[in-house]
Symmetry: C2
Subunit: 243 residues, 2 copies
């Protein structure tokens, strides 16, 4: 039976989602180890998104094949009992036998959290990117609006081998929440490091280092050399995947 599950994780301690050839800890590796312990047989796990080292997830979607006779709720509990505290299954259900979390995905949504303060945070340090200089939200949102629609996003990341860099962004905006600036973006798919590259470049707009028109020109140039800095991984969250 194929199962689909929704996974929340704190990426701080992991070398990303995807299993590595060496023995460095990954989310996929921990999930497979937990299921293999439950099953007694080696179990492989498919994921919707290959989050990088340090990136978090609220709604990563995975799939795996398992013989299990005790129902979905018991499987959820058994998986959580076998996973480390920084990985938590949120829901499990039976899926179609050919369900593939990556190939079947229609849309992905990410969030990025900036902590905009000259003074650092101790409690949220592994969850946000601290930007010390004050950011102007209005031009950041003007620039973000240009992302919506179908564009060649080559400026902001690299496609997998054999794919082009055209993607369709459905929404992209910033909202303030206390000292935090939260960026949410939804697209059919993303290039490698695209959200972090967008955030780093939008921060330059918020600082006044780059105008909205320059941001728009950089997008349309489809040239990686026109991107700004890449924001650090620990402010990024895979929010949800739509099928």
């Amino acid at each position: 039976m194929r199962y689909r599950a929704w996974v929340e994780y704190d990426g701080s301690a992991y070398f990303g989602f995807q299993r590595q050839r060496n023995d460095q800890p990954t989310i996929q590796g921990e999930l497979e180890a937990a299921l293999t312990r439950l099953s007694g047989l080696p179990i492989g796990v498919l994921g919707a998104g290959r989050t990088d080292t340090g990136v978090h997830a609220l709604g990563q979607v995975i799939a795996f094949d398992l013989v299990w006779r005790h129902g979905e709720q018991a499987l959820l509990r058994a998986m959580n009992a076998n996973l480390p505290p920084d990985i938590a299954i949120q829901q499990v259900e039976v899926a179609a036998a050919d369900f593939h979390p990556r190939y079947d995905a229609k849309r992905r949504a990410y969030a990025y959290i900036i902590f905009n303060s000259p003074i650092r945070t101790a409690l949220h340090r592994q969850r946000v990117w601290q930007v010390r200089y004050p950011l102007q939200l209005e031009p950041m949102n003007e620039a973000a609006a240009y992302l919506v629609g179908e564009h060649d996003f080559a400026t902001f990341g690299q496609p997998p081998v054999g794919e082009n860099s055209v993607r369709h962004v459905y929404q992209a905006q910033w909202r303030p929440q206390g000292k935090e600036l939260i960026f949410t973006i939804e697209a059919n798919a993303f290039l490698y490091r695209m959200v972090r590259s967008l955030v780093g470049t939008l921060v330059e707009v918020g600082q006044g280092k780059r105008s909205v028109a320059q941001f728009q020109a950089a997008l349309h140039a489809a040239s990686r050399q026109l991107a700004g800095t890449t924001a650090p991984a620990h402010g990024l969250y895979l929010l949800s995947v739509t099928y």
Copy 2:
């Protein structure tokens, strides 16, 4: 010159605020080490509240004597540059020469966060106490209301040697926020482990294991044996201290 500073910290990695005789890491120890590096001379730090192992703070207040010629803002930056990432000074200012953060404090406020869900959280695991069974907020707030006023709180904790266990609680209530239940309580002072003992006992009220009347009777009995369980440290936050 005596300085007063407000400190935020993630207590997860520390054996509480207070310096220990052995070399185990403490908040006070880290603060003193940072100031001693800045000063070149050994500097002692006084704190408003001796938070336990694993307890966090948003607004711990400290005081120390230091010769410093570069102003309060530069001192704030220099302290943060010398402190580990899980301890962050939020503000520094010159204080009266006899300012004592504990003896001069008029009120302290704490928060406790319960994550009320059968499914665990990965991202907030070191910041909340997960309670799996559903809690009824209304009786928990009815019971909390009995705490307000001057009472002998001996049921819920121990006073320091030579003190009685009468304390004045100014406010105590629960509010829901998503899956979280947030308890805030303010008093002139607290007994040892008082907030965690109150939270553990109020959770029994929220579960229906203990009626509001039984809670009230336990309070008035002033007997430690009538308390419920003690909630774990990692859901507790020292919010603020009033002078």
